[in-house]
């Protein structure tokens, strides 16, 4: 299997190169058979990547420790789900997994566009295969996954214990899917530039791909946050680590693109800006990969660091020079006679939203690379940590939250005084009242007060939109509330799906600003039978229970959670001692309610005295982050779901069908 996997990668490299050459020559010389051959080669590259992945998975699950990758990232006692997750737990495997997602998506794109966008497709194929060629080059020449060792070790070194967590089995695949999905709009954008077909066809074609990219980037970031919350045991979920930032930046620019693209669709404006955003988003995915794997900036994600940095930075350079060069070449064709009816309009609000989103992306980028700049200029290493990012981004985040309420509701073209009053009077009043109530109630964390007021404002604008829509349907069609709501969403999935996404974002803002503002924490050393108060609960320490499997030794503390004298829960935070590699980890225990998480960590245990040191936190509103993520996922699902359209052809036209077609 190993030889087959290795051979598959070598042949895939040749075929990817072949696909690039044939598609470009085919497009230039207008040879359909060349283009078709390139597309078949692309499908073959996908098939070969599947074979390579299967070969590596086979080696992992059969514990073939003669293979360096298997010996390094797995062991015979590693549970099956983590043995499979080891596929992306190491450098070479994760690049192979990336290639699998990329070639799978490329194949889907080719199949989707068999009969349409034929002028664009040769260039789309060439760009996607160029990206695949880069990754296949890494896999064939720089970090091959099928390297054999000179000897066969009796046992593997095992997967990093920090990665042996459920969320790690889904966080990297989500994030990679998000990163790779950004390649599709980028490829179509390049194809549009190459062909000069710069209308909004490429945008309409890739709308769902962009949403898919955004969706998986969102999920990837959230799953990573959940992993950090559960595994790192410091009571938080986001530490502005360079690798977290790397995943956050493309999300920001992709969000900007999703908004600005609406202006191009509606008004044929911002063509250049949209191109810039697509290029920027894709480049940031490669930059993020560079950050994760180069080791240039210190990060807790050191498990994937290697010497791949120069290759990625070189590839990034090629992408930026190539794509910006093409953009400059086509600039005269992209210029449009942009006009705006009024500065008070949805167009202006979206422009502001883009400015803030790109501004946040820049501040994150700047903070991430500033230590490198400082060292290069002054020779002094400095740290740019969470306080910097929080201080710089908090005001920008609040502006963004405000615009989340304004953008979708303010009128296109020109907002009249009547429109403004109708849309914003009640939400603004509710937001202000909410803020005043919080202030009077004694809340003095000003960011939280402003954020909560804005959350109320945004929610009120969205609820009002739903209310108006439902009332209109009820008045016109006489539907009941539920049916009217369902039909309202179903008839305009994009608009109302977007509103649902915004509700999810509001919930996340509640958590992001509320948790740090009202957080409580306590570190206490207790002996069995001792109790302590935390967040309205009484926690009684009932000692520790040791246990062991061939893979891990556990030390589990038992904490009875009492609410007004009645036991409501038992929390069991753990210390785990992995045997290969010998590394202790922390497994937190959480009592989660929508209002707050009671989060406890077993810090240390002293065997002779049986005393344990417990770190306990009360994290208010943190549940809103995860529930907000679910709402966001539902909203994106609503938006992305295909709309069934009636056939546009008249009933009497030859060949007309009256069955529905799918967009």
């Amino acid at each position: 299997m190993i030889e087959i996997g290795s051979l598959a990668l070598a042949v895939a490299w040749v075929l990817a190169l072949y696909a690039i050459v044939m598609s470009l020559v085919g497009a230039y010389r207008r040879k359909r058979d060349f283009v078709a051959s390139a597309e078949h080669a692309t499908l073959a590259v996908w098939g070969l990547t599947v074979i390579a992945v299967a070969a590596l998975l086979h080696a992992l699950t059969t514990h073939d420790f003669n293979l360096e990758y298997v010996a390094h990232y797995s062991s015979s006692t590693l549970p099956l789900q983590y043995t499979i997750a080891a596929l992306w737990g190491g450098q070479a495997g994760s690049l192979l997994f990336w290639t699998l997602i990329l070639t799978s998506m490329s194949s889907v794109v080719l199949l989707q566009n068999r009969y349409k966008n034929r002028e664009l497709m040769p260039y789309v194929t060439a760009v996607l295969m160029l990206i695949a060629l880069f990754f296949l080059s890494m896999l064939n020449y720089v970090t091959p996954p099928f390297e054999r060792l000179a000897f066969t070790p009796a046992e593997g070194q095992d997967l990093n214990p920090l990665l042996q967590n459920y969320w790690m089995t889904i966080h990297p695949p989500s994030l990679y899917t998000g990163f790779v999905s950004c390649s599709i709009p980028f490829a179509f954008a390049m194809a549009a530039l190459a062909t000069g077909k710069l209308d909004d066809v490429w945008i309409r074609t890739t709308r769902r791909w962009t949403l898919l990219a955004w969706f998986f980037l969102s999920l990837g970031n959230l799953f990573g946050a959940e992993w950090a919350y559960l595994v790192l045991g410091w009571g938080g979920y986001w530490a502005w680590d360079p690798v977290e930032n790397a995943a956050f930046m493309p999300w920001l620019t992709c969000t900007a693109f999703l908004h600005s693209v609406m202006i191009q669709e509606k008004k044929n404006m911002l063509k250049v800006w949209n191109m810039v955003l697509v290029i920027l988003t894709f480049s940031l995915t490669i930059f993020g990969t560079f950050l994760t794997r180069s080791g240039v900036i210190s990060s807790v994600h050191s498990f994937t660091q290697s010497g791949l940095g120069p290759y990625f930075i070189g590839f990034l350079g090629v992408i930026l020079v190539g794509s910006l060069g093409m953009l400059l070449w086509r600039l005269p064709m992209l210029k449009s006679e942009n006009e705006l009816d009024s500065m008070l309009s949805r167009e202006s609000a979206f422009l502001l939203n883009n400015l803030v989103l790109v501004g946040i992306a820049f501040s994150v980028f700047w903070g991430t690379i500033f230590p490198v700049i400082s060292e290069a200029v002054r020779g002094i290493k400095i740290t740019v940590g969470p306080p910097f990012f929080n201080k710089v981004n908090a005001p920008l985040g609040l502006i963004l939250l405000f615009l989340t309420g304004v953008g979708p509701v303010i009128a296109w073209r020109r907002a009249s005084a009547k429109n403004l009053r109708r849309s914003f009077l009640v939400p603004v009043a509710l937001g202000l009242v909410g803020g005043i109530i919080l202030f009077v109630a004694g809340v003095r964390h000003y960011y939280a007060v402003v954020s909560f007021s804005l959350c109320i404002f945004v929610l009120a604008t969205i609820v009002a939109e739903f209310y108006r829509g439902v009332r209109a349907r009820q008045a016109m069609v006489g539907e009941n509330l539920l049916i009217a709501l369902t039909h309202l969403i179903g008839k305009n999935r994009r608009r109302y799906g977007g509103y649902i996404v915004h509700i999810g974002m509001v919930m996340m803002f509640l958590a992001i600003t509320g948790t740090p503002a009202f957080k409580e924490e306590k570190q206490i050393t207790v002996k069995p039978g001792d109790s302590f108060e935390m967040g309205g609960y009484t926690l009684r320490y009932d000692g520790v229970t040791p246990s062991e499997t061939p893979h891990v030794a556990y030390l589990t503390a038992n904490l009875a959670v009492m609410d007004r004298g009645r036991q409501v829960d038992t929390l069991r935070p753990e210390k785990r001692f992995y045997k290969k590699p010998q590394q202790p980890t922390t497994e937190v225990a959480i009592r989660s309610t929508l209002g707050a998480d009671l989060y406890v960590v077993l810090g240390s245990f002293d065997e002779p005295t049986k005393m344990a040191t417990i770190q306990a936190y009360v994290n208010p509103l943190v549940g809103f982050l995860w529930w907000g993520g679910i709402v966001l996922a539902i909203g994106t699902g609503v938006t992305i779901w295909p709309t069934r359209l009636r056939a546009a052809a008249p009933a009497y036209a030859p060949g007309a069908r009256d069955d529905a077609v799918t967009e």
Binding site: V300, W366, P387
Partner: protein, 165 residues
């Protein structure tokens, strides 16, 4: 009608950006008194966790624990925040501070995002203004010659009024 206009939105954008910058950097050099937690959050743990001394999750951490003791000792001397942080950066190097100081070259770290945002804001403001003006000119150019209101105009006006209600 087309006389010079005050670019109020540009001024507004400037005010917002300057406000953000002030909010952003407000606590870089905060006034006394300083809390223990504030100092913990101003220092980076050196164990490799990448977190602040306050957030370091290793309860027996051989970096965070001595640093906490050192913070307490420094607080007992009665020094202010700046003096304590200067002590730490003097002893361990600037990398121990969890965010750049607002001095010298490091000012760039704090100011650049807001300066670029201001430039971007001004650019967006001017662009929006230019596009609005262009629209106004287009509208003026295609405006039909005034004519006496016909009976249909009156009916239309009435219908539109009712529609707005």
């Amino acid at each position: 009608m087309s006389g010079p206009r005050r670019p109020w939105h540009v001024v507004l954008a400037g005010v917002v950006v300057v406000g953000c910058a002030l909010l952003g950097t407000a606590s870089v050099r905060s006034a006394e008194p300083v809390s223990f937690q504030e100092l913990e959050e101003s220092l980076t743990c050196q164990c490799g966790c990448g977190l602040t001394v306050h957030s370091c999750n290793h309860l027996q951490c051989d970096s965070a624990m001595p640093l906490r003791a050192e913070i307490r000792a420094q607080m007992e001397t009665g020094k202010g925040k700046d003096a304590i942080l200067t002590y730490f950066s003097g002893k361990y190097g600037e990398k121990i501070l969890s965010s750049p100081t607002a001095e010298g070259f490091n000012v760039l770290a704090w100011v650049t995002p807001f300066v670029l945002l201001a430039v971007g804001g001004a650019f967006v403001g001017m662009t929006v203004m230019r596009w609005t003006k262009r629209r106004q000119l287009t509208r003026e150019a295609v405006q039909p010659a005034p004519h006496a209101p016909s009976q249909y105009d009156k009916v239309l006006e009435k219908e539109l009024k009712n529609f707005d209600k």
